[in-house]
């Protein structure tokens, strides 16, 4: 270890204009310095129950089974799939980006029969496509991504959820990117299982995530005959910690819980709808500025765009990797390039939480212009 003898960490202060991790709210940083307690300390158990209430609010659900998970957003994705997608089941995945493909890959790992409906990256699914696919495949579980971080698309999922419920399937939504930033509203959509992360719309550090499960989905889980392959992410075991008598399962991370508590409190104080609207306004300002500079939105239909992850192709002759490097080197600004088939082709610009203000949009656009 080269960094020895009392050398402290001094991290550079970047401005995280990427698709996540996003800027952490100052209240979340502050909370992490609060003392760690034991995992069944009365204080900690009360804090967890407040976090669960906060999560229900941002998920838009009354599901009693709503709790944090000791893993990143991808771990939460795995928890959803490993518990509800059983070997041999038909699992239908709406695939319009990198993370939908990850869902399908995880389904295959569970030895399910995965049926994928692919569409062009940067697009979402129509009502007819959703119904036709589900009626054809007759799956037991249907999954879609509400906010595709890899392409910048948003779909509420309502037509998918309706078609899936009509076909008697469980509905699973990836809300990793949408939670806390855009409308999620699971109960009104009819989503059964949804998961998210801490480091995007909730303005917290990564390392934790959350899941919510509808009563009808939980009943299926309780009746599941064979144990899932995973012990660590077995929701039936995990739930026992979040309810009296709080049976020990794993050791949770108090600093991350403290941060999540504050991230949720900050959202409640602003008001969830106000926060959505702030992201929407910031996005419109950003898109207008980017178009002025010659960037072109990847997502053609404005209604299908995420408000806090904006995806654009750079003007002709602009090397996206070099542009990102200059932003980092000269302005301490991090943005991201494309993933998978969009590698080298697009930029992904996140304007979440503290960054979704006129001032911070203008700051970013000015820096971008100087780097062009």
């Amino acid at each position: 270890m080269p960094v020895a003898s009392e050398k402290r960490i001094v991290a550079p202060k970047r401005l995280l204009y990427g698709p996540g991790p996003s800027e952490v709210d100052p209240r979340a940083y502050e909370a992490m310095t609060q003392p760690v307690t034991g995992i069944r300390d009365p204080f900690f158990l009360e804090l967890i129950s407040e976090i669960q209430s906060g999560l229900r609010q941002v998920f838009g659900t009354k599901n009693p089974k709503t709790f944090p998970l000791p893993a990143s957003g991808s771990g939460a994705m795995e928890a959803a799939i490993a518990n509800f997608v059983q070997p041999g089941m038909k699992f239908a995945v709406f695939a319009n980006g990198h993370f939908s493909n990850r869902i399908a890959a995880m389904g295959e790992r569970q030895r399910a029969t995965v049926a994928k409906l692919d569409t062009k990256w940067g697009e979402v699914f129509t009502k007819d496509e959703a119904r036709e696919f589900i009626d054809r495949e007759r799956p037991q579980v249907v999954a879609f991504v509400q906010g595709e971080t890899s392409t910048g698309t948003y779909q509420s999922g309502k037509p998918i959820a309706e078609a899936a419920r009509d076909a008697g399937a469980l509905v699973m939504a990836d809300c990793v990117t949408t939670l806390g930033a855009m409308p999620v509203e699971l109960d009104s959509l009819g989503v059964d299982v949804a998961f998210s992360c801490s480091q995007k719309g909730l303005s917290c550090p990564a390392g934790m995530s959350a899941i919510t499960v509808s009563p009808r989905a939980w009943k299926i889980l309780e009746e599941r005959a064979e144990e899932p392959f995973t012990w660590y992410l077995d929701l039936r075991l995990l739930a026992k910690y979040y309810e009296p008598p709080h049976v020990y399962h794993h050791t949770p991370s108090p600093p991350l819980y403290y941060a999540l508590h504050q991230g949720l409190a900050v959202i409640e104080e602003e008001g969830l709808a106000n926060r959505w609207e702030r992201h929407r306004r910031a996005h419109n300002r950003l898109i207008a500025g980017l178009e002025r500079l010659g960037f072109e939105p990847l997502v053609k239909n404005p209604a299908d765009r995420l408000w806090h992850v904006t995806t654009v192709t750079p003007p002709a002759g602009v090397d996206e990797a070099r542009l990102r490097q200059r932003l980092l080197d000269e302005h301490d600004i991090e943005i991201a390039g494309g993933l998978g088939e969009l590698t080298g082709k697009i930029l992904r610009i996140g304007t979440m939480g503290p960054l979704a203000t006129d001032e911070n949009i203008d700051l970013f656009l000015a820096a971008l212009e100087r780097c062009l």
Copy 2:
């Protein structure tokens, strides 16, 4: 969320004399307030590489494949088992406590054939027992727990590792409790796969863990035909992030990495052997004090005792649950009771990191005496 309108978190300052989570080093708290960076920020990648060096030191290994995991210690346990214990394999587990049983349960989840050798809780295995069991079972993978947090036993694992290697089996060690606090020394023992956590001997908050894999074990992993059930804890995918070109897998948690970096730096500054010796001295002082107060060690052979998790049965007539509650209520001191078959029968007292000093042992003993 009842805690609203600008209400900050004020956590009680407990003294964590339990078997983990343990007291967090002040340097680790301080580090968590450093700004979060992106996951491929040059600063962050350099920090990770320093963490990997530090982990190799505490694990006592030269294994290039040594890296953090985005999960708690139980998640690291699952990573080890889900990658190396394949369906249908014979998996031999030395079972002398709650966590060895957890290993066996996880092996069953992987659809392996699990062979358990049980011994009395509070004891470890003899050389002859180890060899006889392995020679009889002819397993492909053998697992043991170096420090059984549930009983307070320590076994280096040398006889187990020797017998396993002679039989051509992979050797897996649970170092969740030992790492950073007691001799681990994997390379000299001949251990192939070992895992640990952050919140015990490393004096960091929970939420992260670490794994190390020997070159011969990694070769087996590379040749593994079928993908593991887990995507999130698939070591082949994870390793790609820790090596150039640092392929994105999941979003790591910078504050936990910063804390881990400082936890490892603090150990390096003290010197690993000095730290072990400090734990040993503190343990001897604690045991002497406990015996004076009428407590009886659960682990009869002093050589088999953990130096930083001391397990005792209380004097006749003392209600262990009430004693723990008084310690918490009157002295803000947390200790733990027994797990599984030892529930209600023993106390588990952790004296890790900052607590392993004469002063802190005496402080604890004085508080305990007042609560009797």
